[in-house]
C-alpha cells in the first residue's frame, strides 16, 4: 500500500490527513498547494482531509526564491 508524493513512492498511512503527511514529509514551508489526484485541497481542509491509498499527491511549494 503506497501513495506517490511529488513523483516519489511513499508508504500509505491509514487515516493520515494532509496536515500529517506534510509533517511526515518535512514540508514545513507554509505556502503550499496540495492536489490529491489532480484535485486541489483547500488549505482550511488540510487538518481533516485524508489521503486515500494509491493516490497521487502533488505538494507544490509556491516559493519564488531570490
Amino acid at each position: 500500500m503506497s501513495i506517490e508524493v511529488n513523483g516519489k513512492k511513499v508508504e500509505w498511512v491509514k487515516n493520515e490527513t494532509v496536515e500529517k503527511l506534510l509533517k511526515r514529509m518535512k514540508y514545513t514551508f507554509p505556502l503550499v498547494v496540495v492536489k490529491i489526484n489532480d484535485k486541489v485541497v483547500p488549505r482550511k481542509d488540510f487538518s481533516y482531509v485524508k489521503i486515500p491509498d494509491k493516490s497521487t499527491v502533488a505538494v507544490i511549494h509556491m516559493i519564488s526564491g531570490g
Binding site: 514545513t28 498547494v33 509556491m62 526564491g65 531570490g66
Partner: protein
C-alpha cells in the same frame, strides 16, 4: 496606528550627525566641461534619447532612440547592450579607456501606479569576468534620469581627477565637476551631495536629488558595487540600494567618478505619459490590494523583506553554510528573519521607489558601528536582504549584529556583499585545510566564524593595504584559485572544486547540490552564477515538477527569458511571484503566476500603446538574451567551457559532506545510478564519491546539451545566425562573427554533444548539425 508606533513626523533615526564645511567643499569644485540640453517630455515611457559622456575627450552628446531600437531592444538592459555593441571592442577589458559604464531605465521605469517600477539596469565589461555584466537596482536614479530627459546614460573614458557628474533635469544642464574634498564612502558622500545639490534646504528638495556612488572598497577590489540613493523623507537620510554584481563600482572608481548626481524638477503619476493611464491605474490598484491583503499570509515581505527566505532555506537544507559544504546548521535560527525584525525600524514604509506597496527595503536605524573608521557612530543600515544574511551563514557568522556590521561596511565601502561573502567563505575553507594560514593571509586568522577577521579584511581592502593576500583576495575567488595553485599550496582539484565561482563571478547564496536544474540556473547563464536568471530549486528538487532533461531545459529557457523581461522594462521581479493571487493554485501553471503575467502584458500595452501578447514579452527577452550571448562569443567566451561550474555546486567535495548526508547519497546512487544496496554496502566512501562525481558531471553536460538545443544554439553553446535572424536580429557584423566562430568550433570538433549517452538514452536531437536548418 499600531501598538508601539509613533507618528512618522516624530521619528528620529538617532544617527550620528556630521558637520562638514560645505562652503569649502563647494569652493574646491571646478567645472571641467559641461553641456546644455533642451528639456524633453517622456512619451509613452520613453524619453527617446540617451546621454553620452566621454571623460577622456571631454565630449557630451545626445543619441536618438529610434523606433527600430525600441522594437529590437525594448529598453533597459536591451538598450545597454546596443550601446555597448556600438562602442566597445572584443578586446575591451574593465579598465580599458573605451569600456563604458551604462545606466538604463526602461519604458515602465518610473511608474508610480504599479508596484516595483523603479529599477535601473547597469552594464559594463566586468573586472571579474571580462564579459558584460548587468545588474539591476532600485532607488530614484533611473526614474529621475528618464524624467530629466534620458533613457540611458553612457559613460566612456576616464577623468584625470575625481569628478562628480551632475545631470540637472531642473536646469537642463550636465556638469562635470572636480570633487576633491568630498568623502568617498557612500553613507557620508551621499549625505554631503544630497544636501549640496538640493535646490533648497528642504526635505522635499533633497528628495529630488539621487546619487550613484561607490566607496574605497570598490577602488581596491573587483567587487565594487554601485549604490543608488533614495532620500527617505521620513527618516531624513539618503538610503541606498545596490547594483551589486560584477564590479560596476570598480569601473566607476577606475573612471575617477566619485558620484553621479541626478536632479529632477518634478515627479508625478503621469510623468511617463502612458498611452492608457486608466488601464494602468486599474491593474496597479488590483495588485496594491492583493499585496495589502495577502502578503502577511504569504512571504511577509512588507515586514521582513527577502530575509524571510533564511528560515525556509535552512529547513530545506539550502542555506549555504561553511562555503556551501552544508545547507543547514544548528545555530541558523539565530539569524532567522524574526531576529532581524527585532532591529528593523517598523513605523515607516520602506519602498525604494514611490508607489511600491511591497516595500521590502528594510532598514536598521541608529545602528552602532563596532569596528573600523566609523566605530562608535550611529548609522542607518539598509538591509540585510536574504543574500547578505546568507553570506553570514556561509562564513559561519551567527550573530545578527555582526551581519549588520558586515552589511553596513560592504555598502559604504561600495563592496558587493554577495561576492565579498562568498569569496571570504572560500578563503575560510582553504584556511581550515591549511592551504591558507595566518602567515599566508597577511596575519588574518581567517577561520570560519571569525567575524573580527572578516571586518578587518574589509577595512584593509578599503585602506588599500598592500599585503600580497589582501591584494589577490580582493580580486575574488578565480584569482585566488590561480594564486593558490601557482604557489602549489594545495591540491588543484580541491581548490577548483571548492571555490564557488563560474565565469569569474562568485555564486549567490543557495545550495544547489540536489537540484540539477538550479545548477544550470547558475552555470548556463550570461553573466555568471546569479539567481536572477532562474530560481528552480523547489520546482526541481522538492516539487519534482521538471523530472526530465527536456523539462529542465524548457524551464531553463522560459524562466531566464521571462526574468530578463523585467530588466528590459525597468521593473523589479518581486511583485511577479513573491505575492500571488488568492486563486493562483487553481490555474494551469501556478509557478508562472498567469494572472500577473497578464498584468504585465496589459501594463506594457497601457504604457506604450502597442499591441502585445504574452508571447511577445518572451520574444522581446529572447532577442536581447541571444544578443548578449552573441556578444560573449564575440569577446572570446560564451562556449560550453565557459559554462563550467565547480563540483561543490553539484555534489559533496569532501568526505565530511558525504558522510553528513550519507543516507541521501547512498539512496541516490541506488535510484539514479542503479547500484544495488548490497553493492553499495561493499563500497568504500572514496568509491562512492567517485561514482557520484562522474555521474553528476555527466548529468550537467547532458543538461547543457538539452538547454543549448532548446535555446537554438550549437552544441558548443553558440547562438546561430539562423536563430538570430529568426528573432529579427539582423546585424550583419554580428551574424558574420557568429558564423565564423561556429566554423572554427566545427573545425576543432567542438560541435558535439557533451554528455555520454548510453544506448537507448535520448539525445536532444539525432541530427548533430540540427542548427544549420534553423
Amino acid at each position: 496606528m499600531g501598538k508601539g508606533q509613533i507618528p512618522t513626523e516624530e521619528y528620529e533615526t538617532r544617527n550620528t550627525k556630521h558637520k562638514w564645511d560645505y562652503k569649502k567643499i563647494k569652493q574646491a569644485h571646478r567645472i571641467v566641461f559641461k553641456y546644455s540640453f533642451k528639456k524633453g517630455k517622456v512619451e509613452r515611457g520613453y524619453a527617446n534619447r540617451t546621454l553620452y559622456i566621454n571623460l577622456s575627450s571631454k565630449e557630451i552628446k545626445e543619441k536618438k532612440v529610434t523606433e527600430e531600437m525600441k522594437d529590437k531592444f525594448t529598453g533597459g538592459r536591451g538598450f545597454g547592450l546596443k550601446l555597448l555593441w556600438d562602442s566597445i571592442k572584443p578586446t575591451t577589458r574593465w579598465n580599458s579607456d573605451e569600456n563604458e559604464l551604462i545606466i538604463t531605465t526602461g519604458p515602465l521605469c518610473g511608474t508610480t501606479q504599479y508596484p516595483g517600477s523603479g529599477k535601473s539596469l547597469c552594464l559594463t565589461v566586468s573586472p571579474s569576468t571580462d564579459i558584460i555584466c548587468d545588474s539591476n537596482v532600485g532607488g530614484f536614479v533611473g526614474p529621475y534620469l528618464k524624467f530629466a530627459g534620458f533613457d540611458a546614460i553612457e559613460i566612456q573614458g576616464k577623468a584625470k581627477h575625481d569628478v562628480v557628474i551632475l545631470i540637472d533635469g531642473e536646469k537642463g544642464k550636465v556638469l562635470i565637476e572636480t570633487a576633491p574634498l568630498e568623502e568617498t564612502n557612500t553613507h557620508q558622500l551621499n549625505e554631503q551631495l544630497t544636501k549640496m545639490y538640493a535646490s533648497e534646504d528642504t526635505d522635499n528638495s533633497r528628495q529630488k536629488v539621487s546619487v550613484v556612488s561607490s566607496g574605497k572598497g570598490a577602488e581596491n577590489s573587483y567587487w565594487g558595487c554601485l549604490n543608488f540613493s533614495f532620500y527617505d523623507i521620513r527618516r531624513k537620510v539618503p538610503r541606498v540600494k545596490q547594483a551589486g554584481r560584477g564590479g560596476l563600482g570598480t569601473v566607476l572608481r577606475d573612471k575617477k567618478i566619485k558620484a553621479i548626481v541626478v536632479k529632477v524638477e518634478k515627479v508625478s503619476g503621469i510623468s511617463n505619459n502612458p498611452a492608457d493611464p486608466e488601464t494602468l491605474a486599474k491593474i496597479g490598484t488590483k495588485l496594491h490590494r492583493e499585496i495589502r491583503d495577502l502578503d502577511r499570509y504569504q512571504c511577509n515581505m512588507r515586514a521582513v523583506g527577502t530575509a524571510h527566505l533564511v528560515e525556509i532555506m535552512d529547513e530545506y537544507d539550502l542555506l549555504p553554510t561553511e562555503n556551501y559544504r552544508f545547507g543547514s546548521f544548528p545555530k541558523a535560527s539565530k539569524i532567522y528573519s524574526p531576529e532581524f525584525y527585532k532591529h528593523f525600524t517598523k513605523i515607516i514604509p520602506d519602498g525604494c521607489w514611490h508607489g511600491c506597496t511591497m516595500a521590502c527595503s528594510k532598514t536598521v536605524d541608529g545602528f552602532t558601528v563596532m569596528t573600523g573608521p566609523y566605530k562608535g557612530q550611529k548609522v542607518t543600515v539598509d538591509g540585510p536582504e536574504y543574500e547578505t544574511v546568507g553570506c553570514g551563514s556561509n562564513m559561519s557568522i551567527w550573530d545578527p549584529l555582526w551581519i549588520l556590521e558586515f552589511n553596513f561596511y560592504c555598502d559604504t565601502y561600495g563592496l558587493d556583499t554577495i561576492s565579498t561573502g562568498t569569496a571570504i567563505a572560500f578563503y575560510m575553507e582553504m584556511y581550515e585545510y591549511g592551504i591558507l594560514n595566518k602567515g599566508r593571509c597577511d596575519n588574518l586568522e581567517l577561520c570560519f566564524g571569525n567575524y573580527e577577521a572578516v571586518l578587518d579584511l574589509l577595512h584593509r581592502i578599503a585602506r588599500g593595504d598592500n599585503g600580497e593576500f589582501i591584494k589577490v583576495a580582493s580580486k575574488g575567488i578565480r584569482r585566488v584559485k590561480d594564486w593558490l595553485i601557482k604557489k602549489d599550496w594545495g591540491d588543484k582539484d580541491l581548490i577548483e572544486d571548492c571555490g564557488m565561482e563560474s565565469k569569474g563571478l562568485e555564486y549567490s547564496e543557495y545550495v544547489t547540490k540536489e537540484s540539477l536544474a538550479m545548477q544550470g540556473g547558475y552555470g548556463l547563464t550570461l553573466k555568471g552564477p546569479q539567481h536572477d536568471e532562474a530560481w528552480l530549486i523547489f520546482m526541481d528538487m522538492v516539487n519534482n515538477a521538471i523530472p526530465t532533461f527536456k523539462d529542465k531545459a524548457e524551464a531553463l529557457h522560459y524562466f531566464p527569458m521571462w526574468r530578463t523581461w523585467f530588466g528590459l522594462n525597468g521593473l523589479c521581479k518581486l511583485p511577479w511571484n513573491d505575492i500571488e493571487p488568492a486563486n493562483n493554485a487553481e490555474t494551469d501553471d501556478p509557478t508562472k503566476v498567469p494572472e500577473h503575467v497578464q498584468n504585465y502584458v496589459d501594463y506594457q500595452k497601457a504604457m506604450t500603446g502597442k499591441k502585445i501578447t504574452k508571447e511577445d514579452l518572451i520574444l522581446q527577452s529572447e532577442r536581447c538574451y541571444n544578443f548578449q550571448r552573441a556578444m560573449n562569443v564575440w569577446m572570446g567566451r560564451g562556449r560550453r567551457k565557459d559554462d563550467w561550474i565547480p563540483y561543490r555546486s553539484m555534489g559533496p567535495v569532501t568526505k565530511m559532506e558525504y558522510i553528513s548526508r550519507k543516507d541521501r547519497y547512498d539512496k541516490y546512487i541506488t535510484e539514479k545510478i542503479g547500484i544495488s544496496e548490497k553493492d553499495i554496502e561493499k563500497m568504500n566512501i572514496n568509491e562512492k564519491m567517485k561514482l557520484l562525481y562522474d555521474f553528476r558531471q555527466d548529468q550537467y553536460q547532458k543538461l547543457a546539451d538539452a538547454v543549448y538545443y532548446r535555446r537554438g544554439w550549437t552544441p558548443n553553446g553558440v547562438p546561430t545566425p539562423q536563430k538570430m535572424k529568426q528573432l529579427g536580429m539582423n546585424d550583419s557584423k554580428m551574424l558574420k562573427i557568429l558564423q565564423d566562430e561556429i566554423d572554427k568550433d566545427e573545425k576543432a570538433g567542438l560541435n558535439v554533444w557533451g554528455g555520454k549517452y548510453k544506448k537507448g538514452e535520448e539525445l536532444p536531437s539525432i541530427h548533430p548539425n540540427y542548427w544549420k536548418k534553423w
